[in-house]
């Protein structure tokens, strides 16, 4: 039994490349978040393999997930999606009802396979929901400081900007912290992440000021609140987010400004990092080198190039940091405004 599943898994992974699918999904739709892309990729894996028993399917999912996680430099966001998918499958199977053990396994399979589009749509709708919840935070005359390229934050700000009826719209200002590291590796002088949102907001008549990361402490005095997005929300209520978020959190706490996080609830991930260097990713942000080391490295790079076993490093432009929960005033999610401590409960609810 085990050998057959292994063989099928191996066969399917040969014919179907989950990593390429995942990357392709992310590229094709800029509005797609990592967890949702991961769920989509898993749905496609299931479509491509004719597994018919429950354990076969779970086994296949587990293998594909492990493979996907190993091949992506930053698997935190996507693991939220794969975990959610797996838990949903198991919980539904354990539950009495038509989709449970008494019922037909095929039913749940067909449901998952045929509703891939629906999940994506719901994920996008959840951003709308967040915007509706978060509207209350942005009031007339306030100034919001934000960073990064979070789509949830962008939709929240846009929603606040274009409340129908022109003059009744909220009059607020935005301070946008732009990263000095360009997102695009091929084009280092390209525009930083978030410029798209800045342009959209300006087009809607919202005064936006863009500042470098070094000016955050200087600019915070003019801001009333900080709103940031997140790549993953971890169990203790902290967030994993674009490099630079942690320092904004620290500064906001020091200056006494509320620090809000906007995140969809499918980004909640079962991870309990104890500090910055406890994340399951390899990123070389702090690197000590002497002249000798640099020379050494240059030699190595020319000699060995393709080293399969080494963990994949995260490029500097995609590096993340961890903002601990005590810096966060509240999380604005599609299931309401949560305190950081409420996150663990949401996670426990799906795991136990």
């Amino acid at each position: 039994m085990a050998t057959t599943t292994e063989r099928t898994a191996a066969a399917s992974s040969k014919s179907f490349d989950i990593v390429a699918t995942y990357n392709e999904l992310l590229r094709s739709d800029p509005d797609l978040t990592m967890p949702i892309a991961a769920i989509e990729a898993l749905v496609l894996v299931l479509t491509h393999s004719p597994s018919s028993t429950i354990s076969e399917t779970l086994d296949l999912l587990e293998k594909s997930t492990a493979h996907l996680k190993k091949s992506i430099p930053n698997p935190i966001g996507l693991s939220a999606g794969t975990d959610l998918f797996q838990r949903y499958l198991i919980t539904t199977l354990q539950r009495p009802g038509q989709l449970g053990p008494a019922g037909d396994f095929k039913a749940i399979r067909t449901h998952l396979l045929s509703n891939g589009r629906l999940f994506i749509r719901r994920a996008k709708e959840s951003r709308e929901k967040i915007a509706a919840f978060g509207r209350g935070f942005i009031r007339d005359g306030c100034t919001v400081l934000t960073n990064g390229g979070s789509r949830a934050v962008a939709s929240l700000l846009q929603k606040a900007a274009d409340e129908e009826g022109g003059p009744s719209a909220v009059r607020f200002r935005v301070i946008y912290v732009l990263s000095s590291i360009s997102k695009n590796i091929e084009e280092p002088s390209g525009e930083p992440e978030g410029m798209e949102t800045v342009r959209t907001l300006r087009a809607k008549g919202v005064p936006v000021s863009t500042i470098p990361e070094s000016a955050v402490a200087y600019a915070l005095g003019k801001a009333d609140m900080v709103i940031v997005g997140a790549e993953g929300v971890v169990e203790n209520g902290g967030i994993v987010s674009r490099m630079g978020t942690y320092q904004i959190g620290l500064l906001a706490k020091a200056i006494g400004k509320p620090f809000y996080v906007v995140a969809e609830s499918h980004k909640f991930v079962r991870l309990y990092p104890l500090g910055q260097y406890d994340l399951p990713i390899e990123q070389r942000v702090v690197e000590f080198r002497s002249e000798d080391d640099i020379a050494e490295q240059g030699k190595q790079e020319s000699s060995v190039d393709a080293n399969g076993d080494k963990p994949i490093e995260l490029p500097l432009s995609d590096s993340v940091d961890f903002t601990p929960p005590h810096l966060i005033s509240a999380l604005i999610t599609d299931s309401g405004v949560l305190t950081p401590s409420a996150v663990s409960e949401e996670l426990i609810k799906i795991w136990f």
């Binding site: 959610l84 919980t91 009495p96 009802g97 499918h266 309401g336 305190t339 409960e345």
Partner: protein, 438 residues
């Protein structure tokens, strides 16, 4: 505060009396104007008045269809909340009543599911039909609470994180949409059991009213765990909850109480509380049979002006505060001066304990703190006799303070002691998500 002849002045007592004789709509108007004119103030009086009014509204409601009941209660609730938006307990009570109706409607529906389980094909997810079927049997206040906990732990599983992946049909069959979507058309107006819904709801409101009556005693029962011998306790305002808490502890222990007088809005009541010379004028005191003051129990009580709080804080072992309402993020809206005390306690690392009934706990997230602060009579700060000055100076008299959650160490409610970060849990046990913003 100074209402000399209780029988004549409109207030909680006269309102409750009039409830029996007046038609519902008059009573609603009556309460709205009482709230607007601030003739009913204090959290508990407002909560009690709202609960009694809603019980009346539900009992005279001709229909017993849960959807219509919810609609009716919502419309009344909206008007009451609009009358006095800062009195958040009104909204809290309305939300709890709405939750009650929804719970009853669901229990009802689930009971039917168990009966007609064969027809579950159109209902892919009927998980709770099995484990919850026994719940309608016992209904004392405690089991209600346990049930609430059980529900909220099982229901949002379907709603929150899994909602992304759930079956499209299952979405609609979620019990949270009462009456509107019943695949087999069996919910609206179904025969004999619908009558029970109303009776159960009325009983539930009765329990809320009972809870409002007992809440201070329940909180006081935790007093001995928190107040120890020879401690120095600092408190503020004439809050009945705090007084009962201290009196309960005084029955067994000897300690010292430092009482800040809370000038200018509450100092008279505070003086009366300390000296025990309560003339029974204050509504929320006369509401209870007033107890012996602390001094009669052999407790040393030191009355200080508010300005001396910081100076004395270094000697204080514990700060015990009453509150006006508690917000979902763990912050609280309390009598002006509370924040100063809480901040001073923080500086001296003195524990701050807030005593509050669960009914004061509001599910509303405080987006705008400033809007929660109510401003009172400026003449209490600068009497109008000083006419010349009044013309030249802008006098303000805020009645409330917003105290952020990080300044509070412990909340004691009628359910026990909780950390501020745990309050969200109590909120989700007591209020339904659908009702938070209705």
């Amino acid at each position: 505060m100074p209402s000399t002849s209780l029988a004549l002045t409109p207030g909680l007592g006269s309102f409750l009396k009039s409830l029996k004789t007046h038609p519902v709509d008059t009573s609603i108007e009556n309460l709205i104007s009482l709230l607007k004119r601030r003739q009913i103030r204090h959290s508990r009086s407002c909560a009690t008045a709202t609960a009694y009014l809603l019980r009346h509204v539900v009992s005279v409601c001709k229909t017993s269809d849960p959807a219509k009941l919810i609609e009716r209660v919502q419309s009344v609730g909206r008007r009451l909340m609009a009358a006095q938006p800062r009195e958040m307990v009104v909204g809290n009570v309305v939300r709890r009543v709405l939750g009650l109706i929804r719970d009853e409607a669901e229990d009802d529906r689930e009971a039917e599911f168990t009966l007609s389980e064969a027809g579950s094909e159109s209902q892919p997810q009927t998980p709770r039909a099995f484990d919850d079927a026994s719940l309608p049997l016992d209904r004392d206040a405690l089991s209600l609470r346990a049930e609430g906990a059980e529900r909220s732990s099982s229901r949002p599983t379907l709603q929150s994180m899994f909602s992304l992946l759930s079956h499209p049909d299952a979405d609609h069959s979620l019990p949270s949409t009462p009456g509107t979507q019943s695949p087999n058309g069996r919910i609206p107006g179904h025969g004999p059991s619908s009558k029970d819904v109303k009776a159960e709801v009325l009983e539930g409101i009765g329990e809320i009213i009972d809870e409002l009556g007992q809440v201070d005693d329940q909180i006081a029962s935790y007093a001995l765990e928190h107040i120890h011998s020879n401690e120095i306790i600092l408190t503020h305002t004439s809050s009945t909850t705090v007084q009962k808490f201290l009196v309960k502890a005084a029955s067994k222990r000897k300690f010292t109480v430092i009482h800040a007088e809370s000038f200018p809005n509450n100092h008279e009541a505070t003086h009366a509380t300390v000296s025990g010379n309560s003339s029974g004028d204050d509504e929320h005191l006369s509401f209870e049979s007033f107890q012996k003051p602390l001094i009669a129990l052999g407790i040393t009580v030191i009355l200080i002006p508010d300005s001396a709080v910081f100076a004395l804080m270094s000697r204080v072992n514990k700060v015990i505060l009453g509150t006006h309402s508690v917000l979902a993020n763990g912050g609280l809206v309390a009598a002006a001066g509370t924040r100063v005390i809480a901040r001073a306690a923080k500086v001296h690392q003195t524990p701050v304990v807030v005593v509050s009934g669960v009914y004061k706990l509001s599910p509303v997230y405080p987006f705008d703190f400033d809007s929660l602060i109510e401003y009172g009579d400026a003449s209490k700060v600068l009497p109008y006799e000083d006419g010349d000055l009044v013309d030249q100076i802008d006098v303000q008299n805020p009645i409330y303070d917003y105290v952020p959650a990080e300044l509070v160490d412990l909340y004691i409610t009628n359910l026990g002691g909780h950390a501020p970060s745990y309050l969200y849990r109590i909120v989700s046990d007591h209020y339904r998500k659908e009702d938070i913003s209705f």
